[in-house]
Amino acid sequence: MVAHLLRLKLALLRNSLRRSTMQIVGLAIGALYGLGILGMVLVGLVALGTQGPETIGVVTVLAGAALFLGWLIIPVVAAGLDMTLDPARFTTYAIPMRSLLAGLSLSSFIGIPGAITLLASVGTAAAWWRHPLGAVAALVCGALAALTSIVASRAVTAASASLASSRRFKDLSGVVLLVPLIFLGPIVAGVTAGVKDFKDYLPSLAGTLSWTPLGAVWAVPADVAGALWGQAAAKLAIALATAAALAWIWKACLQRALVTPAYSGSRRRGAGSMGFFRLFPATPAGAVAARSMTYWFRDPRYSAGLVIAPLLPLVLVFAGSRAAGGGMLGTTLALGGVLAAFLVVWSISSDISYDNTAFALHVASGVSGTADRSGRALAAGSLAVVPGVVYAVVGTGIAGTWALLPAVLGLILGAVGSGLGLASVFSARFTMNAPLPGDSPLKSKPGNNFPTMLIQLAGFAGVGVLMVPEIVLAAVAMSTNRPVLGWIALAAGVTLGTVSLMAGLRLGARQFDRRAPELLLAVSADR
């Protein structure tokens, strides 16, 4: 039975490769990347072997604990990283639980992350080339550690899946978990700067970790090499208990998941809550705007963007905080506002890809291109202007350069207008590889992301070119501190933004009217 599951996983992999050459390219790039990391890790480990057993122990415990944490956290954030063998699909086959668990965990090693983890973990033996006993222990413990990582990630996925069968939880967690991820850079920078006696701190951290489930398994070889048999046995016991406990949690969650249907209802609610449809005019364009607006707030794929974009200026400020003083900070914040506004408006470039086949309603109703384009632009535009203007005002306020506010506003309005205009054309012309409705915002199908990236880059470049006058004017105004030029930049931003928006809407509408059925066919292809 276990062999069957392994063979199934291999067959799935082979068939997915047969589907398109881009998949092969994607896998090859992933494999190269993984092998590169593995190579670096192994070289590092051999080099580490020249140090004393204590140092080797500290480094492997810390790195190992980090790896383990990664396996615990990533599946939750990325909502089912690799669910090719989703246990829910085996419900109808009477597979003994023991075989199912063994098969699923072993099959996880077929795949780049699993395989690299296994090889790197077992590879820790390389660090012990001067201590043969430690090397033997590292071989055994490495395999155990890799297995524990896999089981841990499976257990976490199963546990959160039973929690997440409520759609609301899934929607919310996908967006909320993004926030710490965005601030990861600043947080790490802050922590490393904060801990002054970093070198003294690490060994004690490793010492503590080595007695916890996170680090025990990685600490055993060091104790073996140092002939501390009692400690080694105790830590091995902790490691084994960890693996057993995780396996038990996994089994319990899986047993419950297999008998609980995935669908779970919510409260029934009667008519009367029309939301954004009340705010917008009752025209086709107004309806499209109201629908888009609803999606911006209710669909995690959109709301993730709405959460990330306003946070980006803050990240920029954190990143630059040690480099510059208060004046620079304010300017960074204001310019970050331009970026935030642009990111919000640019996301409608993949609007139809996000609609997926729901777009059929627009085609079947014969919505005019003008109504479709302007409705989507109206929703994104009104959402983008708010954070943009807030950051512009706050930023210039902090910097004490009120006189330059018009220049920043010119940039923002230019970015919104040109961004919306170009995005309206792009979304009527191209469909992209976007997460499906209901999927996590972070999820994307592997392999065929290359064309999507190319289209996005072309779009960024295009908007940059459209905005050259505002950018030059604002840059000169800011660097030479001449507010008059700032007013000219504002005028240029408003004028050029409006012109780009109008031209983009018209061109996009013409594309849309001509190609709506082709767009529908293109999004139907990747359901």
Partner: protein, 267 residues
């Protein structure tokens, strides 16, 4: 187009206006597979027409091309005399469509979705509000009107999609598998709605696998298999004394005549 289907001659003979749906030489190829092979079909105005065929016969592809969702490689389609691919906006105003295997804007509530469908058609607000209330009431969805469509069951999703197709009171209603996973009570309600609609002069085309249902519900039927129309006309013409199911199997073929699966005996 030398072949003329029975229903066409009948419609001409009866001297009525143009058929509700007229298809001539419609073809579509996906890669190496010819999904629809130059089909001709007429659905007379005021008829209740069933479209039956095995899985993968080209039913959904044909209906998508007939309703302006999928551009045909060749051929033409008219809805009440309006060329669907020549003047699509005008043709789409005449049609209501319930597509199969297509997502909905399911982060809207049921009420919002049907309203959205109405407003997209350019209808005025008061009419939309009134019709949405009627439709939700009739389809027994009023109590779930404020629930997000993504939280609906499969049957409720079908019903809300049907409401979206009916909101603009079309003259031709094209329904792809409308009864799939709909409970028997709701299915009976839907059949009543459709019969009233046909009685008042509307035309309905339904695709289905369920022959009994088509035989009971429809007055016209077209059998499609392997991308071609094998038979078309009134239900009585097509079945010719047999039950529709037997006639269908006779036309389409593919029944296994052996006793088969000898071991699948419990006694």
């Amino acid at each position: 187009m030398t072949e003329i289907s029975p229903s066409l001659t009948e419609a001409r003979a009866a001297g009525q206006g143009p058929p509700a749906l007229a298809i001539r030489g419609l073809s579509k190829r996906f890669g190496s597979k010819l999904a629809v092979n130059a089909i001709d079909l007429d659905v007379p105005a005021g008829s209740f027409c069933g479209l039956v065929g095995p899985n993968g016969a080209g039913k959904t592809t044909s209906l998508s091309m007939a309703t302006g969702l999928l551009r045909p490689d060749a051929g033409q389609v008219w809805v009440h005399g309006v060329d669907v691919w020549g003047s699509p906006l005008e043709a789409k105003r005449l049609m209501g469509l319930l597509p199969d295997g297509v997502r909905l804007f399911d982060r809207l509530t049921g009420e919002q979705l049907v309203t959205y469908a109405g407003l997209l058609r350019g209808m005025d607000k008061d009419t939309v509000v009134e019709r949405v209330r009627d439709l939700l009431e009739t389809l027994d969805l009023a109590r779930d009107a404020g629930t997000l469509v993504v939280d609906y069951s499969a049957g409720m999703t079908k019903k809300i999609a049907l409401a979206s197709a009916l909101i603009h009171a079309p003259r031709l209603l094209v329904l792809d598998e409308p009864f799939e996973s709909v409970d028997p009570v709701s299915a009976a309600n839907i059949r009543d709605i459709l019969h009233n609609y046909v009685a008042s002069g509307g035309t309905v085309i339904v695709s289905s696998h369920v022959m009994d249902l088509v035989q009971r519900m429809c007055d016209h039927v077209a059998v499609i298999a392997r991308g071609s129309v094998l038979a078309a006309g009134t239900v009585d013409q097509v079945r010719g004394g047999l039950s529709l199911e037997d006639r269908f199997v006779e036309l389409v073929g593919g029944r296994n005549q052996t006793a088969g699966l000898q071991w699948l005996r419990t006694s």
